[in-house]
Symmetry: C2
Subunit: 456 residues, 2 copies
């Protein structure tokens, strides 16, 4: 019986045009990853549940897609969990595997598992889909690609410099100018908390500060007060609300605020190193900006924190982010591996390029020329010529059936094939081809040699 076909919510089919556009972005990212010395790895789509569970917090555990064990999976199921219809308890018995939730934990697992085959520092990139049982909404999917580049095994600040240049290189090659690479440092945030004596409330403090853009100074103050940070402490740190101007001016403001914090001053030193290096090798089209409110996944990052904002004319949150972490592989037993990584938000970059009309014309191009099918004799003549064209790198096709001319022309038109070739008895006799340009309607009867050079 026929079913009305559909796909699960939050997933997508990609048409030829969409695949071509996505690959255009992937290819540029990959080219730059490689150019910067990153090497590709791939990990399985599903991992043992024990590898993933407990790594992304309680909400993450809920959002991980679990795979049902094969066969008679209820055989070993806990009777009590069944009786109580306790889904959470039962999961442990009926599911051993789960779909990848991000690329970072599998990467950490990979590094630890293969540590004896890897030369450190290890610079890897990974472009693969991940799955999350999030409520689907505009721009949020249950299956989406992540594009990550990480290096583990070095705490050199040159990595931070490299990653900034990598962002700049990718967005420049994509034609997406004027992105802002925002930088902050966990040590700056720790310094703030230290200066006001609220080290224990670092997370609350930074979560509130992170909202400055959205809720303004008054809102941030209120939230900090609500979280139990004293009025006096907030007053003490209030100069950060007024940090303005160039990178250097903001740094100089920070120096006054953080002078009593050793950690904070170390953060400033790191920022300055990075800023100096970038100044010596100016970015092509991106701007590096210091944003002391930037926090992202704070409990994760230990040094630099990055976020890339799309050009202001486009309303589109961040299109990339990353930072330095000191103990990524510790969860799997390999200690003291400082690392840092960044990622590119493929789906958002796609939307930005679409909105700014930055996909090149050629991205949709597939078949260059269609041979009209006039019957078997003409088709053989066409097929032989198609072979020569393909050998010359020209994508050519024969319309497979000798349908009515109008139908074949319409097919070429709908598929955006720019040229058709009409080769009937007369052309075969004279070993020529009548080439028609679809848009202009212009026609020319030429030799195979001329055909190849004209279509190349």
């Amino acid at each position: 019986m026929a079913q009305k076909p559909s796909i699960p919510k939050g997933t997508r089919d990609f048409s030829p045009e969409e695949v071509a556009k996505r690959n255009y972005i992937f290819d540029i990212i990959k080219t730059q990853f490689k150019s910067f010395g990153f090497q590709p790895i791939e990990t399985p789509s599903f991992e043992n549940s024990s590898t993933l569970m407990g790594k992304y917090g309680e909400e993450g555990d809920r959002l991980i897609f679990k795979i049902l064990n094969s066969g008679d999976y209820l055989k070993k199921a806990d009777a009590k969990a069944l009786e109580l219809k306790d889904s959470t308890a039962l999961t442990y018995f009926v599911s051993e595997k789960a779909l990848r939730y991000d690329l970072t934990v599998p990467f950490a697992r990979y590094v630890v598992q293969h540590q004896n085959e890897i030369e450190f520092p290890f610079k890897r990139y990974q472009i693969q889909p991940v799955w999350r049982a999030d409520r689907p909404q505009k721009g949020r999917f249950r299956e989406f690609f992540q594009c990550d580049a990480d290096v583990v095994g070095s705490d050199s600040l040159w990595q931070e410099v490299e990653f900034i240049q990598l962002y700049d290189a990718v967005f420049t090659q994509l034609g997406l100018e004027d992105v802002t690479i925002k930088i902050n440092n966990r040590k700056i945030l720790s310094g703030f908390a230290e200066v006001i004596g609220e080290q224990d409330r670092l997370i609350d403090f930074t979560v509130a500060l992170d909202k400055l853009d959205k809720i303004g100074e008054a809102g941030v103050r209120k939230e900090m007060l609500d979280k139990g940070i004293s009025e006096k402490a907030i007053d003490k740190i209030s100069p950060i609300f007024d940090l303005k101007g160039s990178f250097a001016e903001k740094v100089s403001g920070l120096q006054t605020i953080l002078e009593s914090s050793e950690t904070g001053m170390k953060g400033i030193e790191e920022l300055q190193f990075i800023q100096n290096a970038v100044a010596e090798m100016p970015l092509k089209t991106a701007t590096l900006d210091l944003d002391v409110t930037l926090a992202r996944g704070l409990n994760y990052y230990t040094g630099a924190i990055f976020e890339v904002a799309a050009p202001e004319k486009v309303k589109m949150g961040s299109i990339g982010g990353g930072g330095r972490y000191d103990d990524l592989t510790g969860i799997f037993g390999l200690k003291n591996m400082s690392g840092m990584g960044i990622s590119f938000g493929l789906d958002r970059i796609y939307l930005v390029l679409e909105e700014l009309d930055l996909f090149p014309e050629t991205v949709r191009e597939n078949t260059k020329v269609l041979f009209i099918n006039f019957g078997d004799k003409e088709s053989l003549y066409a097929m032989k010529s198609i072979r020569s064209l393909r050998n010359a790198g020209i994508t050519a096709e024969l319309y497979p059936d000798s349908s009515k001319m109008g139908k074949q022309m319409k097919y070429a038109d709908k598929r955006d094939i720019p040229f058709v070739i009409l080769a009937g008895e007369e052309e075969i006799e004279q070993q020529t081809f009548t080439l028609k340009h679809m848009k202009s309607g212009e026609q020319d009867t030429i030799s195979l040699e001329d055909l190849v050079s004209k279509l190349s």
Copy 2:
């Protein structure tokens, strides 16, 4: 607490070298797919269970990986299924989605769902992973890639000719010469059954015949007898055991055997059309061979049946296969869509290329030159030069830490980086670079310009 990291059985991590080699194969297949006018699509990793279940037979249903519903999935579970611990019955209640089992059914679903956006004939290719809960064994995985090209909406035999040329083009470009493209036709097999009056036992007949290679004529005869085919019928068809010689000679033998079967004679006509066209446009390195025992997924194919055998010197079953089907999209309600498709067996092709040492040297190449790190001042000099090299398309890296020289050299060696650059105070002063070839140990002190041209 640290866990000993591992991955689920039947899955694989791919190292940078393995990814590079796999991509080498994928890229050649994609290039040829495109050159023949196929367009890429992608479908979600998981489909609604109703899309997949019942499409691959009973065993297929068992081998499909099911995804556990999110949240309190037991809430709506059938009480009886729980009480009886009936896994099969419960699955229906606790799992709505399942991982893709192949690319063919999702393709059929895609065509029907998007029929109004598609121009027919639709030539698509798709290269994505599929998952099967098979018992893992040597060369059989639970996650593996399929590479498929199909065309739907045309029953022209020129498609068959194209697919043969496509196989030839891909294997030629891979340097894998002497593959055999075996062809048969469902109509030939039906003709055999018709001639001996055993149309009802077509499947039993062809399953037995398919084993001729392995169990010989006596074995095939015995199996046919066991299945209830009469001695007399087998005798009548026995000339097929003796079909030998060239394509044309075999065809001529078939003409005698099948002369009383209209279907069989139609099959011969199709074979001859294809063989004539291929003879007019000789294959580059592959051989087309008629194999009347070839059956593959018979209940699926309606016309041509293909299978590609690796060169005889390698012991490795088929590395590709396909055929014509007349009603692929019928299961989703779109009738009368003749189509045909072929696929490439990525994992086996990989093993064959490895065994015959056909991966090009350059496939492993990543970073071309490593700058030795002598400290921050030298690093800045290095980084500036690295930028110029990268802009010239040369992959260059700075060793991120100013570790001991020996450690840095060892890193270059282990990573197969062919050149290192030593640039200390003297070089900076003279704006030069000392380039060392790792293998020969040769050293040269040269300008940036010479560096670029030497490494390009």
